[in-house]
């Protein structure tokens, strides 16, 4: 049972992928209806799903997919035009198929709900397919070496004649062979329609040796048999006879058909050309052996001029040009497929998580070991420890890379959203995607999907105006939503930009005042006003639509993103559009950290955000102790004493030297003032418990080699604190 479950699981996974592919292809077809690759991909999806559903007895999927497949086949053969309506219907078919699959997964025992049934029927009607769907369609038999096709050739007598060429060698008679007896035997297998006896090599006069054989025959042979059995007739003559068996025309077509069939899904392996042709019956093993021998002989003579096996086969007339070509083509495609498959191994993400956890522990114990080595001053061990440390960090990077996926796939899912929503709202919207190759942790990708959907829907619904409004505003009728991703200092930045109406900050302000978020006399910068969008209970759309605008959402978006240790900000220009920028950490597991110490407490700053370290002294930079500003080589930035921030220390003695770590988040730079710099540290992020969720400035903790705990700084939060609340902080702390 569990095996079947696993199989079904695989089926579902495969079907999901196929359907996703199908959706992409359909959307691509909208722009480019002639793209045969896309049509094929859609067809393949339906075809494969039909096939595998049949295996599990999911009859309604089979029946439904069959109808869709039929239509797609017509499209593929150019018998039917593909247009917008058909694409829409097919998209609905895709959705319906995944619903059907879901149904079988959850309540396989029960009847198909009426609603699904009706939906399927109406879709089939829209497809213009036959309504004879209640009959469950038989799944195509896997007719790899099927006899059904071979039997077709029976009726077609003209095309079904084999041609056999026999050229007996001079020694045939002396070796006890009698060509006549072979022909007599051949007669028992079928009809000899015609036979041409010729003796082109028969010497004239006395030179003729009566005991040598000069006979050549060309036989037209009619029989429903295969090459192998014809060849076996002449088995004993082999050494003394050139045998060529030319298959009937229909047979060639049969071979081509066989070759055109997709290879087994699981057993995909690169077959040699010869093997392939033997398998479909176009060649016999002996013919191949002979060709191979000739090839190796040729090679021995002149290595450069050795011909490929296919050419030799055609030359010795064992195989026909088109068949060989088709076989080569197939070989190529199988090779490609294998190459594509070999690049991926499906791994349970749990296993991967476990590996990464273990690597994390390894990193920690590696650090512990290093500390012991340092403490005991074992110089000979040191070398070993250093090289192991290098290896550990390499393992760490590789393990983390395993979980990295390109964000492009997530992005392209939104094509459908954009398409559906713009149809629904009668807007013309184009989705532009850039930076799809940017990689980030799989766990992050999974969690970013919902917030992204929400933000995009917002852009579509609130951002982009109706075509008339756009025209009136002097903008192109078609609006654009631009999804972009790029890496920036250990973070991935995702931007959702639209060229819509933009946000009216007055309107937000009014609304915020009405909702009691701010008081009317509060002075806010534009940025601060936009940040209000992310507060709970604020929506600027006057009427809520079914897409967005009910006042829930943006706060949820922010919460979701912050849960990923990320941040979200918004920028907008009235009439020009809105850009939402999301910063996310690349990974949630292990980072390269920079360890510092303040007030005997160790802190970790993500190394990717560290710009530089300087000594906190008047020689290095001008320090404004009251305003908490430093002027570093002409660059002014706020600074924050970590000891003050976390320990609420009011007094600082200037006895010991302080250092300042300059960190950068986005465009903002801030200095963290600390007592000691410890340097780089591989940091395994251990999430803090729920109790500490509200803690500001800390994003996690890590275990040091000594067993102590160090806190990982939430640089972003601290930067915000230092820049925004600098006045309050300076007043509070300096006072």
């Amino acid at each position: 049972m569990s095996e079947l479950d696993a199989a079904i699981q695989t089926f579902v996974q495969e079907a999901d992928e196929l359907l996703a592919e199908m959706e992409l292809a359909l959307l691509g077809l909208e722009d480019n209806p002639d793209d045969s690759e896309s049509i094929n991909s859609v067809f393949r999806a339906m075809h494969t799903i039909k096939g595998s559903s049949g295996l599990f007895g999911f009859d309604s999927i089979v029946a439904f997919a069959h109808e869709a497949e039929t239509v797609l086949d017509q499209v593929r053969r150019g018998q039917r035009e593909i247009d917008g309506a058909l694409i829409s219907t097919l998209l609905n078919c895709k959705d319906h198929t995944s619903k059907l699959i879901e149904h079988y997964l959850t309540e396989a025992e029960q009847e198909l709900p009426q609603e699904l049934k009706l939906k399927g029927e109406s879709l089939i009607k829209q497809l213009g397919g036959a309504t004879t769907k209640q009959k469950s369609m038989p799944v195509e038999a896997d007719s790899k070496h099927g006899t059904s096709e071979a039997s077709d050739t029976e009726d077609d007598t003209n095309d079904s004649d084999w041609v056999i060429l026999l050229e007996f060698g001079p020694d045939a008679l002396r070796n006890g062979m009698d060509p006549l007896s072979f022909i007599r035997y051949l007669k028992t297998l079928g009809d000899i329609v015609d036979i041409l006896t010729s003796t082109p090599d028969l010497p004239t006069g006395e030179a003729m040796d009566p005991e040598s054989c000069y006979l050549h025959f060309k036989i037209v042979f009619r029989a429903n048999t295969d090459k192998q059995s014809i060849e076996s007739v002449f088995e004993f003559a082999e050494d003394d006879c050139e045998i060529r068996i030319i298959p009937p025309h229909s047979q060639i077509e049969h071979y081509l058909d066989l070759l055109a069939e997709p290879s087994d899904e699981d057993g995909a392996q690169v077959e040699r050309l010869g093997e392939m042709l033997i398998n479909i019956g176009a060649l016999t093993p002996k013919e191949v052996a002979k060709a191979l021998q000739r090839q190796s002989e040729d090679k021995a003579e002149s290595p450069e001029q050795a011909k490929p096996i296919g050419e030799i086969l055609v030359e010795q007339q064992s195989a026909e040009q088109p068949v060989v070509e088709q076989a080569l083509k197939k070989q190529q495609s199988v090779k490609q497929k294998i190459a594509a498959e070999a690049n991926y191994i499906r791994v349970d993400s749990e296993k991967l998580g476990k590996l990464i956890n273990l690597v994390g522990e390894l990193v920690i114990s590696g650090a512990a070991m290093r500390m012991m080595v340092d403490r005991h001053g074992l110089s000979d061990v040191e070398e070993v420890a250093v090289s192991m440390n290098d290896l550990v960090s390499e393992i760490r990077d590789t393990a983390l890379e395993l979980r990295m996926v390109a964000i492009g796939e997530t992005f392209s899912r939104f094509r459908r959203v954009v398409r559906d929503v713009s149809n629904e709202l009668n807007k013309q919207i184009e989705l532009k995607i850039t930076g799809g190759e940017t990689e980030l942790d799989k766990t992050v990708v999974e969690k970013i999907n919902d917030p992204l959907t929400h933000l995009i829907r917002n852009s579509l619904d609130h951002g982009i105006e109706m075509p008339e409004q756009r025209r009136a505003a002097g903008k192109p009728e078609q609006g654009t939503v631009h999804l972009n991703a790029y890496h920036d200092s250990g973070h991935i930045v995702i931007q959702i930009a639209d060229d819509g109406a933009g946000l009216n900050d007055e309107k937000i302000r009014t609304k915020a005042i009405a909702n009691g978020l701010i008081t009317p006399d509060q002075v806010l910068t534009k940025q601060e006003v936009f940040d209000l969008i992310f507060e709970a209970g604020l929506s600027t759309k006057d009427e809520a639509s079914n897409l967005s605008g009910r006042g829930v959402g943006m706060d949820v978006v922010r919460r979701n993103i912050e849960a990923l240790r990320g941040s979200v900000s918004l920028d907008s220009e009235p009439g020009q559009g809105t850009t939402v920028t999301i910063h996310l950490p690349l990974t949630l597991a292990i980072i390269d950290g920079f360890m510092v110490e303040a007030e005997q407490e160790c802190y970790i700053i993500p190394l990717s955000m560290v710009e530089e370290c300087v000594e906190m002294s008047p020689e290095e930079c001008e320090v404004d102790e009251i305003q908490h500003y430093v002027n570093l080589r002409g660059e002014v930035m706020p600074y924050l004493r970590l000891g003050d921030y976390f320990n609420n220390r009011k007094q600082h003695s200037n006895i010991h030297r302080e250092s300042m770590v300059v960190v950068r988040f986005g465009q903002t730079k801030v200095g963290f003032v600390v007592d000691k710099l410890h340097g780089e540290h591989q940091t395994v992020i251990k999430p803090l418990g729920k109790v500490f969720e509200q803690l500001k400035g800390i994003s996690g903790a890590t275990v040091l080699g000594s067993g102590d705990v160090a806190l990982i700084l939430d640089v972003q939060g601290l930067v915000q604190f230092a820049t925004r609340d600098k006045s309050r902080a300076s007043i509070g702390l300096a006072g």
Partner: protein
């Protein structure tokens, strides 16, 4: 004597009274090739050929070829059942162009 030769109206009639197989081919060829030089019309009586194989057939084909080369008229007469069977099997009756008389008492094959 495996081959009987007689003359009639200036035509050399050669009656082969033996099997025409690989075992006899060499000897038969040696005997027959003499007559190809004679310049006279040849008639080969095959009624006595009780067995014929590829070598025998080949010999006939060779005779035909040589006769043509030497501008000698050559005809095969009174084919035995064994000969006809081979000629028919290989579709060679037309090649030799001689009328084949099928005797009523042949076994139906």
């Amino acid at each position: 004597m495996a081959i009987e030769v007689s003359e009639k109206n200036g035509i050399t009639i050669i009656a082969i009274q033996d099997d025409m197989t690989i075992y006899t081919a060499s000897e038969q060829k040696a005997r027959l090739s003499k007559y190809l030089q004679s310049g006279r019309e040849l008639q080969i009586n095959l009624s006595g050929v009780s067995e014929m194989d590829s070598a025998g057939l080949q010999l006939l084909l060779w005779l035909k070829q040589e006769a043509g080369r030497n501008a000698i008229k050559l005809s095969l007469v009174r084919h035995s059942q064994a000969v006809v069977e081979v000629l028919e099997l290989l579709n060679l009756t037309g090649h030799f162009g001689d009328p084949v008389v099928i005797s009523a008492n042949w076994n139906a094959s």
